[in-house]
Symmetry: C2
Subunit: 172 residues, 2 copies
């Protein structure tokens, strides 16, 4: 039993690493983008007629800030980002946080999330998140915390595809 249990834990660790590696890769791509883009470029529309680059970064920040409450591991740090960048659609007439404020918040929410992620045991990732009921989770055990990261990583990739053309040295 011991060998099997160890292997079992080891396999979970591998899953967690696969998902968190993908998440970290996307985060580092956003970091690289932010290091290359000017505040002026961030004000340009990232998608024709919609969403400035700054709004998209604020949106990603608000989503990452919401990870810990969804996972049941903490509270939001910047609840105003949820209001401005998640609940409310982009409106060029509405004044939002400055580039400096959004850059700082992006960095901070990722530090907080990364600190928590590096602390938790693999088993904890396979428990249910707060947006799924115990009854539903019993029937659908794939709706676990790690699955939230799978989904959020794709969400980040999606928006990254819209952002990168704001800088001259874009990557594919």
């Amino acid at each position: 039993m011991t060998t099997s249990a160890t292997l079992y834990k080891g396999e979970k660790q591998i899953f967690v690493k696969m998902v968190l590696d993908a998440w970290r890769t996307q985060n580092s791509r956003v970091d690289k983008f932010l290091a290359e883009v000017s505040d002026e470029q961030l004000a340009w529309p990232a998608v024709l007629g919609r969403n400035s680059g700054l709004y998209v970064i604020g949106h990603l920040t608000g989503i990452t800030d919401g990870l810990l409450p969804i996972l049941g591991w903490g509270e939001r740090k910047y609840s105003e980002f949820e209001e401005t960048f998640v609940k409310r659609p982009y409106d060029p007439e509405v004044k939002i946080a400055t580039a400096a404020e959004v850059r700082k918040a992006w960095k901070r929410v990722n530090e907080i999330a990364e600190k928590k992620f590096s602390e938790v045991e693999p088993d904890e990732w396979f428990d249910r998140h707060t947006a799924v009921s115990a009854e539903d989770f019993a029937k659908e055990p794939h709706r676990n915390r790690l699955n939230v990261i799978v989904s959020r990583t794709n969400h980040q990739s999606y928006h990254l595809g819209q952002l990168l053309f704001l800088t001259k040295n874009r990557e594919d």
Copy 2:
């Protein structure tokens, strides 16, 4: 041992489902995009000054067509797509496949991949893919077949973020 082994297999099944569900979600979003976009719209640049929508769909098709060889489960069906849409960067002067040809190939490569994915046992997903050596895999067991899908799903999300503004009824 039996219970533990079953649980162990069950956990793998859950993880496979998480990754394949994300993959299928992105595929169905591309399908939805293709159902809404006209061939004329597909000829527009998806990213300013770069990559028509048609090129991006051809690129995603070439990447998905390359999945089975990388996973060690089959051959490419459209090797010309690798030449045109993967190895060669977008060039507006170069004649590429028509929208009808690309749409058909996209559908076909996804059918072939989906058929294989639905047949294989969970354990097979955790073996190494053909681009990693046995020595490296022993040290880095997360470089398995399923991890290729995690990566490709994010790749698809990334390009989807560039495509959706070609249609009027875009989604976030």
